[in-house]
């Protein structure tokens, strides 16, 4: 049997969702699960804002000459797209939604260590988000998400300062989330939950939190300096005023490269939960995967200069950053191989979350391997700032991280909402997203190697065929993203009631009711097993 059927009683059990229905009880909640829901709603909003910008961009790029929007508008579109997607969607996506919901439950705690700080994080995030939206509505920003100086500090006459404030505030939200996770994971594990028993989701969130805490402040101070330069006209990064533009790039990437691992590590954590569950096996190489997360977090701090191979930094700098980039890819490779090996001799159930997880593995592999291509010095000289790089990071961030986020949402949806999502629709849209995604971004690899520069709103005529393919793919992809939005909302009202453990999964979160009570557990659980003890759980029927 799969699970215990949930039998509605006369008085429905009290859950975190039904303790109170007042708006106040949501907006002033200190419950990590409710805060996770608040985040879920808000990041979805920002995702569609960023997605709408992507749609307009792709429409513009259907023809070589610029005809749909003006050049200035296009520049604002990709800037808002990058800023929204990176800072307000992907960075908070898995940590602040799934992590917030699951970190305490998975380690058997009643809440995060600092619940009110957690709520503050969400408010900071929202304030930052409103500033960013405000900057967009008041006329936009056109610097690209990278804010390269001196363009951003001296030349652009758009709302750079406002956007900087937005990202600055949002940074503190990230820092507080990371801090909360670190303390919670260190100090609030249930009896028996040794480090060696932590689910890999927790390990990857721990690694992510280290980056949150140690990298984000550098971005904050860098942006402050850009703002100071803009407002006071003193030369920090503008050579005309005596500053150094390369210094800005170093500082920016010192944050933003670790930030890409902020985006991928939690996704790897999600996949590490889903794969063993639907293969019904202990994960292969638990120790290696856990260690790889930490290795990525640490090494990730040392490779920032690979974004600057043609910036004019020294040859030796380039070489060191190149070799370190190759080294940091090894832990990722280890993870991919271990996930694949987990399937071996398993009992593989291709449900929606598993489809997403397998999609993640494949697309992340391709994205990561093209990461190696751009990390190769002589090749990057050619493909830097072309669509090759755009394809590389969309493969990892959209094909990888967004897939994992959607997989995680489907996997834990029964736990979060107490309802099942419609399986057929789930599989269908996973398939649609996979197809649409590849059609959108694979042609961009070719475009990039052919030499089409990024951030071009008009391009040479011979690039048109591949661009049209890409736009066609994006429309399928957009549809693929709208579907889950619709059927997941539908399932809130009409979905089947979820049992406690619909997937026959190991892990503490599957041992409390769906949805869990406010305190997560009635009594503190005592852990007696290693993580992924699937040998002790019967295989559910397909």
């Amino acid at each position: 049997m799969t699970s215990i059927p949930y039998t509605p009683a006369l008085a429905p059990p009290e859950t975190y969702l039904n303790v109170s229905y007042r708006v106040r009880s949501w907006l002033l909640t200190a419950d990590h699960k409710r805060i996770a829901i608040l985040y879920m709603i808000s990041i979805t909003l920002f995702f569609f804002v960023g997605g709408a910008a992507a749609v307009l961009m792709r429409l513009e790029l259907m023809t070589p000459q610029g005809d749909l929007v003006r050049a200035e508008t296009y520049n604002k579109l990709f800037t808002i797209h990058g800023v929204m997607m990176v800072f307000f969607f992907l960075i908070p996506s898995i940590p602040a939604v799934l992590g917030n919901f699951l970190v305490p439950i998975m380690i058997g705690a009643r809440d995060l260590a600092f619940p009110r700080l957690n709520l503050l994080s969400w408010y900071l995030y929202m304030i930052g988000g409103c500033f960013a939206l405000g900057a967009m509505i008041l006329g936009g920003v056109d610097t690209g998400w990278t804010f390269y100086t001196p363009y951003s500090s001296s030349f652009s006459n758009t709302n750079v300062a406002l956007t900087i404030v937005a990202i600055f505030i949002n940074g503190f939200s990230s820092i507080l989330t990371g801090l909360n996770f670190i303390v919670t994971i260190h100090k609030m594990r249930a009896p028996g939950m040794y480090w060696s028993r932590l689910p890999l989701f927790i390990w990857s969130h721990y690694a992510t939190s280290l980056i949150f805490v140690l990298a984000t402040p550098v971005l904050a101070i860098t942006l402050v300096l850009v703002a100071v330069e803009r407002l006071l006209r003193v030369g920090i990064f503008d050579p005309a005023l005596g500053g150094d533009p390369i210094l800005f790039q170093h500082l920016f990437w010192f944050y933003s490269h670790p930030a890409v691992y902020i985006m991928i590590l939690p996704a790897m954590g999600v996949v590490s939960e889903i794969v063993p569950c639907f293969a019904h096996k202990r994960i292969f190489g638990y120790g290696m995967i856990a260690f790889a997360s930490l290795a990525i977090a640490v090494l990730g701090f040392l490779v920032w200069g690979h974004h600057m191979f043609v910036s004019g930094q020294s040859i030796y700098g380039g070489m060191i950053f190149s070799i370190l980039s190759f080294l940091v890819s090894i832990p990722s490779a280890i993870k991919v191989f271990n996930w694949t090996a987990t399937l071996y001799k398993g009992s593989v159930d291709l449900r929606t979350p598993m489809l997403y997880a397998l999609g993640f593995i494949g697309l992340f592999t391709l994205g990561g391997l093209t990461g190696l291509i751009v990390a190769t010095l002589a090749i990057d000289v050619h493909v830097h700032d072309t669509y090759f790089v755009v394809a590389h990071f969309h493969y990892i961030m959209v094909g990888g991280a967004v897939m994992a986020y959607l997989g995680g949402i489907h996997f834990w949806w029964p736990k979060i909402t107490g309802r099942m999502y419609p399986e057929w629709w789930g599989r269908f849209s996973a398939f649609l997203i996979f197809v649409g995604f590849n059609l959108t971004f694979f042609p961009q690899f070719i475009l990039g190697y052919l030499g089409m520069p990024r951030r071009y709103y008009a391009y040479a005529a011979e690039f048109q065929v591949l661009n049209v393919m890409s736009t066609a793919g994006a429309s399928i992809l957009g549809l693929g993203y709208l579907l889950p939005l619709c059927y997941l909302i539908w399932s809130l009202f009409y979905g089947k009631i979820a049992p406690i453990n619909p997937w026959g999964a190991a892990g503490l979160e599957w041992q409390t009711s769906s949805p869990p009570p406010t305190d997560n557990f009635d009594q503190t659980p005592v852990v007696v097993d290693e993580a992924y003890a699937y040998d002790k759980i019967e295989v559910p029927s397909a």
Binding site: I361, L372, I373, T376, V381, L450, G451, Y456, A542
Partner: protein
């Protein structure tokens, strides 16, 4: 084997790209044109990278498919617990590690080659500004948004920007280099095929970033000479520099109260910086600093007399002055500034001591 792979792709590309009219080819293709000696080298490396990528992508995709089907969940099929196999872990750490180390060494070696220009290259000056490329040939002819060069001639671009960061990108040559304000960067290549190729600005630089494009025209050397002579040429940079040298009365000091500039280029100077004695190589960056900010490094044994020319000279003028100083010979073969600069063009009539 790698080369043949590239060639076959190009063959396919060439079959599609039959008739190219004037201007850069607009034919649909899947592999970029190879028009410099770098292109073949970079593409060969790319073929290795693609081979590794295709291999691992297929490996992972196929394994997932195979396992997913073979071990799919069905009644009567039970999973078997497989303990972690550390021998396997070592293997799949070591093999990728070896493969990426090859990537690193190969990529880095080629990169060093790409960065370090040969000494005998023809130097062309490039100034980027929002949103155009200004090019000047050693003989003086100027172009805008176009770079005309003879085939099989090693060319070195000497670049700076007047405002924000740009990037000089020629896909068919596989070369790209950011062009920075307040600094010099260089880029070199040897075109191997006559034709017209795209020139792009690759670093986002504001509204018309995508309009900051042009073409690179590679000609037979003979035609190039014709082309050079074809229009009334501007003064060669070195000659213009000489004029400036006189106009800003550099010669009133240099040679007497100030060190001679003959043979200075690429020589090692002893200078005082922040009160400490140091050796510096007199490269472009140093010459630029000496003119714009003379007090930063004071030549040993001389008083800090020299005024700053910051704000009085345009980027072009600074480049011309430097070209003139270079024309006075390098450390290897010094020449006295009193002789006419080493160009065939009529001398600027400058009076020098």
């Amino acid at each position: 084997m790698n080369v043949s792979f590239t060639q076959s792709i190009n063959l396919a590309g060439a079959m599609l790209a039959q008739s190219d009219g004037p201007g850069p080819s607009t034919q649909f293709r899947l592999w970029p044109q190879q028009a410099s000696h770098f292109a073949v080298q970079v593409d060969t490396l790319m073929a290795y990278l693609l081979a590794v990528s295709v291999f691992f992508t297929l490996l992972i995709f196929l394994l997932i498919l195979y396992f997913g089907l073979k071990y799919r969940r069905r009644p009567g099929h039970l999973p078997q617990m497989v303990p972690t196999n550390y021998a396997l872990e070592v293997i799949w750490t070591a093999i990728p590690l070896a493969l990426v180390m090859v990537m690193f060494v190969w990529g880095a070696a080629l990169y060093v080659h790409e960065v370090e220009a040969p000494r005998d290259a023809m130097e062309i000056q490039v100034i980027g500004k929002q949103w155009m490329w200004k090019v000047q040939h050693p003989q003086g002819r100027r172009e805008i948004d176009q770079l005309t060069i003879p085939v099989n001639q090693t060319v070195k671009l000497h670049m700076t920007s007047q405002d924000v960061i740009h990037s000089f990108y020629i896909p068919a040559f596989r070369v790209k280099q950011d062009v920075l304000p307040g600094q010099y960067t260089t880029e070199w290549f040897r075109p191997t095929k006559v034709g017209e190729y795209h020139l792009f600005c690759a670093e986002y630089c504001g509204a018309e970033h995508s309009g900051m494009i042009g073409k690179v025209v590679v000609m037979e050397p003979g035609k190039y000479q014709q082309w050079l002579a074809g229009s009334p040429a501007d003064l060669p940079p070195a000659v213009a520099g000489e004029k400036l040298y006189v106009q800003y009365s550099c010669q009133t000091c240099h040679g007497e109260r100030a060190p001679t500039l003959a043979g200075l280029y690429l020589r090692t100077s002893r200078v005082l910086e922040n009160g400490q004695l140091k050796s510096v190589v007199a490269d472009d960056a140093y010459l630029r600093e000496s003119i714009l900010n003379p007090s930063a490094k004071i030549v040993e044994g001389y008083p800090p007399l020299m005024p700053t020319y910051q704000g009085q000279l345009t980027e072009e003028q600074i480049m011309e002055l430097i070209a003139y100083i270079k024309s006075l010979g390098s450390a290897a073969n010094p020449r006295e500034p009193s002789t006419a600069p080493q160009t065939n063009a009529p001398s600027g009539g400058g009076q020098r001591r």
